[in-house]
């Protein structure tokens, strides 16, 4: 597999741009070297723990232990440093001009592996993935696709193997889309039956779900409306995996003022899902945005998680930016959120946090066309975890083809449910070189100082150097390479 990937990369690098027309090929090869480190569960006999005054029981070497399990006390040691070196090549091909006006072939696939021996990096299995691969026929009022494809909408990115048809209804501004096929898992190009989607040996459906959906969209100069319906059905038992509907609206109230929003309704669970409404004004030197939002997770019905009644959080959010002097943009945002009542009661336990807030302030100064400075401060305090970070960077563009950047920052992160405050400091540098219109190189390297702070011996450091490289190549024809217009006699 590694040889295949390396071969693909080298072939792509050696290939000369082709002169044929009606195709576009993009190859994107990436490599990253990165470390991570977790924890390992361990235990000692209960009789061997050391009871320290004011600090509870610990192991002899200072690890806090949990002795509620009987004869043994359990604790988590810092895990081994794990090193991943994922290497991937993403190929994206579009063919058109195939003799049938409006016919396009599109394929997007990825080959990936972890160059380390133990393949610890997540998402490197399976090694070959077809993200999309379909034939599309598009004429002014009709679009049809067949093959592996992704439909996008408020109900999410849904991949499936099947067909799609879209019709524009005359001058009414209405578009109708319908699709159906065998579904893929959420946010992946794999079916839900793939072993790669079951690392914890949890329950998994035997068959791929059938997906069917329809969209109705209305487009006008000032208004965009869209309604969606989508259902997924387990073909083996004909039960629903999901059934949802959603609506979205975007209204241009005035040339610089727009109001947008949308909502989802889970027809299977019988409750409203996520929703939001926002108003945005964009001026010459400033912009303002206000938003009300509600977020509720969605679970497939082949899991039991929906029956655990996840509660939504609601939030109000404001953001804005202004340019006090030419070239300097200051942007800020703040959000306050609170969860709905979870309706649980534990008399012996103090209630956990159920609300939080987050915000940030950034400044970007374009000193001149070559130099850009930026800095930002971001805070998030809420249930589960919090974080606070300060970072900054400078970008130097000596030419249109070269960009050099340096960044640095510091982050503090306390957790609510585990003693594991963390502090990370980092400095990094990157280079982006557009060798030609068809070849781009990106590389960056950074040092990360990662310290986990605990009152016992379980704190650990994970200082590391991360390196990544990316090569993007494009081949094929563009509109500008079509035959020039004929000169008038």
């Amino acid at each position: 597999m590694r040889r295949l990937l390396l071969g693909l990369g080298l072939t792509a690098m050696a290939a000369a741009p082709l002169g044929a027309q009606g195709y576009r090929l993009r190859l994107d090869t990436r490599y990253e070297s990165v470390s991570f480190r977790g924890v390992d569960i361990d235990s000692v006999p209960a009789a061997s723990v050391v009871n320290t005054s004011g600090a509870g029981p610990t192991t002899a070497d200072g690890f806090a232990v949990d002795c509620s399990g009987g004869n043994y006390c359990y604790f988590f040691r810092p895990g081994a440093r794990q090193h991943g070196q994922p290497l991937s090549t993403h190929a994206d091909l579009t063919l058109w001009g195939l003799g049938v006006p409006g016919l396009t072939i599109r394929a997007s696939g990825r080959a990936i592996t972890d160059l380390t021996a133990n393949s610890v990096w997540a998402g490197t299995e399976p090694h070959l993935l077809l993200m999309e691969g379909y034939a599309e026929y598009a004429v002014p009022r009709v679009l049809a696709r067949a093959g592996r494809q992704i439909v996008t909408g408020r109900l999410g990115y849904q991949g499936f193997d099947g067909g799609l048809a879209a019709v524009k209804l005359g001058r009414t501004g209405l578009d109708v889309t319908a699709y159906g096929g065998w579904g893929l898992g959420r946010a992946t190009a794999l079916p839900v039956t793939s072993p790669a989607l079951n690392p914890l040996d949890d329950f998994q459906p035997r068959d791929r779900q059938l997906v069917a959906g329809a969209d109705l969209a209305f487009r006008h100069r000032w208004v965009d409306l869209r309604g969606e319906y989508r259902r997924e059905v387990d073909p083996s038992v004909h039960y629903f995996v999901s059934e949802r509907a959603a609506a979205t609206a975007d209204v241009h109230v005035a040339p610089r003022l727009r109001v947008s929003g949308g909502a989802e309704y889970d027809l299977a669970a019988g409750w409203w899902g996520s929703a939001e409404a926002s108003i945005n004004y964009i001026g010459q030197k400033f912009y303002l945005s206000a938003e009300g939002k509600r977020y509720r997770p969605f679970f497939d019905l082949w899991t039991i998680w929906g029956a655990f009644s996840p509660v939504p959080y609601r939030s109000v959010r404001g953001s804005g930016g202004f340019e006090p002097v030419t070239g300097l943009w200051i942007r800020g945002q703040a959000e306050r959120y609170w969860f709905d009542n979870a309706e649980v009661s534990s008399p012996l336990v103090t209630r956990f946090e159920d609300r939080g807030w987050r915000g940030g302030l950034t400044a970007v100064a374009t000193v001149d066309p070559q130099w850009t400075l930026e800095g930002g401060y971001r805070v998030e305090f809420g249930p589960g975890a919090s974080s606070r970070s300060l970072d900054g960077g400078v970008t130097f563009r000596p030419s249109e083809r070269l960009s050099l950047a340096a960044h640095g920052g510091s982050l503090d992160r306390p957790l609510e449910f585990r003693f594991s405050d963390a502090k990370v400091s980092w400095v990094s540098g990157s280079a982006n070189v557009r060798v030609s219109d068809r070849l781009r190189l990106v590389s960056d390297a950074g040092w990360y100082g990662d310290k986990r702070r605990r009152p016992d011996a379980a704190g650990f450091d994970l200082n590391q150097v991360r390196v990544s490289t990316r090569v993007v190549m494009s081949f094929g024809s563009n509109a500008d390479r079509l035959p020039p217009a004929r000169r008038a006699p």
């Binding site: 387990d234 009644s309 008038a488």
Partner: protein
């Protein structure tokens, strides 16, 4: 009487025109001083009366008197004709003037009509002025306000006057019509309409007087396909007249970028004047559509036209990355004009070898805070099992037993087990990135364990049973209530 008036108008022009053509320096000949010696103008200015003869005398003819004895010798050379785009000729004007004055072909010309102010004595001459031309040709008092048909009366097209220098062309004054609002726009007062405004001719002579094809092609990228422009002769000297491509008024609308597709016309004809295909492909990445293909491709023989730099629409300001979803949903086709699906997939189907991008640096450490109360939905881009659970498994933070079974990872809260229900309902997605169903069923199943009821607010048992009773089976077995 009428013919006398015509002659009085024509002859001043006749002589003045000849002087304008022959302007090579100051007229140093003292006409009044020689008034008693020359009863007729044609004695010296033979060309004014005889076609093909020189208009000015040779200096040798002066030597009859100025021989150094009678009078001092004079050194003088006849003026050389100055380059001009006038097509004035004495012969034509002479015939017209004679006819108007009722004179015969053999009668002398009436030079004084143009070259002598009213009431002045013999040989009190002056140069003819342009106003005299206009008054005779009835074009009105403003030279530059004449009708297009009138320009060619006196002027030849620029390209036909090879001797005219670039400096002279650059100094051409602009007619008043060029300063009228809307002259550069499409409309009745626009220059395009005016250029086509003359009957059978492809281009107005008024344009051709000062301009040539090169000048128009500087902005009009469709010049090779435009008959009006092609009717002009090529002449690179015309480029010395500076012009600047000005965007139409509607292009300055802040939201023009989003809606410009509707204003291109069926075949992009409204854009073809200033834009080549390259203007479109600077942003549009989709295979070129009909409107784009109808535009000319940039290249030799065409001017640069409008130069387009790809830039973000107005809406892409601020933290658009977090806000783009609803706009992309509402008008996905707008996105696809500039963005390839590959760009979407880079985040929505992230490459495990990619080094960040959407998330800020050190996000690995920061992500617990972002994941608990999700600012954006993680599972729009990350598969919870393939991405979250796999990584947590490698990091050793996934469960190996029910809560409280072996070790207490959640040691930041005393009695977390007893209070975990609130945390779970608030962020169940975070829980299931480490825990599997069987961990929870140990306590929350009605078929065994502690039989704690997990159902909370909004739970609709009947509906879920109707939609998928298998979910109920997991906890209730076959005794679904």
């Amino acid at each position: 009487m009428r013919s006398m008036r015509v002659a009085a108008l024509v002859w001043p022009m006749l002589l003045g025109g000849s002087l304008a053509l022959a302007q090579a320096g100051p007229d140093r000949f003292d006409h009044p001083k020689h008034a008693t010696m020359f009863p007729r103008c044609e004695t010296c200015h033979v060309g004014a009366a005889s076609e093909g003869a020189p208009l000015f005398p040779e200096v040798t003819s002066c030597a009859a008197c100025h021989d150094g004895t009678i009078k001092p010798v004079v050194r003088w050379t006849p003026p050389v004709g100055r380059a001009s785009n006038l097509k004035f000729g004495h012969g034509r004007h002479r015939e017209v003037a004679r006819a108007a004055a009722g004179r015969g072909r053999g009668d002398p010309p009436v030079c004084s009509n143009c070259h002598q102010p009213d009431g002045a004595g013999w040989m009190q001459t002056r140069r003819a002025v342009i106003g005299q031309c206009l008054s005779c040709h009835k074009t009105g008092p403003d030279h530059f306000a004449v009708a297009d048909t009138a320009c060619a009366t006196c002027h030849v097209p620029l390209a036909q006057v090879e001797s005219l220098s670039r400096e002279r062309i650059k100094a051409f004054p602009a007619p008043a019509a060029h300063r009228v609002p809307g002259f550069m726009a499409i409309g009745p007062s626009g220059h395009g309409t005016m250029a086509r405004s003359v009957g059978q001719r492809a281009v107005a002579a008024s344009c051709a007087t000062c301009h040539a094809r090169d000048f128009c092609a500087n902005c009009h990228v469709n010049a090779p396909e435009t008959p009006t422009i092609q009717a002009l002769d090529p002449d690179p000297r015309s480029l010395v007249l500076e012009t600047k491509l000005v965007a139409p008024r509607n292009h300055r609308n802040p939201e023009f970028l989003q809606g410009h597709g509707a204003s291109t016309g069926r075949n992009g004809e409204r854009c073809a004047t200033c834009h080549t295909r390259q203007s479109c492909t600077a942003c549009h990445i989709a295979p070129p559509g009909k409107a784009i293909q109808a535009l000319a491709a940039a290249g030799p023989g065409r001017g640069l036209g409008a130069q387009i730099t790809r830039k973000k629409p107005l809406s892409h300001i601020g933290d658009f990355g977090n806000q783009h979803a609803r706009l992309a949903v509402a008008e996905a086709r707008s996105c696809s004009t500039c963005h390839a699906r590959t760009e979407c997939l880079q985040c929505h189907r992230p490459d495990p070898a990619a080094a960040g991008g959407y998330h800020p640096a050190a996000f690995l450490t920061r992500h617990p805070a972002s994941a608990y109360a999700r600012e954006s939905s993680c599972s729009d881009c990350h598969n919870p099992q393939q991405f979250c659970a796999t990584c947590h498994q490698q990091a050793g933070v996934v469960t190996t037993a029910p809560l409280g079974g072996r070790g207490n990872y959640h040691d930041g809260k005393q009695s977390f087990l007893l209070g975990h229900g609130q945390a779970a309902r608030q962020s169940l997605e975070s829980c299931v990135s480490c825990h599997v169903e069987r961990d929870c069923l140990k306590c929350h199943a009605s078929t065994g364990g502690r039989r704690f009821n997990p159902h909370g607010p909004g739970f609709d048992a009947a509906r879920l049973k109707r939609k998928n009773p298998q979910m109920c089976l997991a906890c209730h077995g076959y005794n679904i209530p």
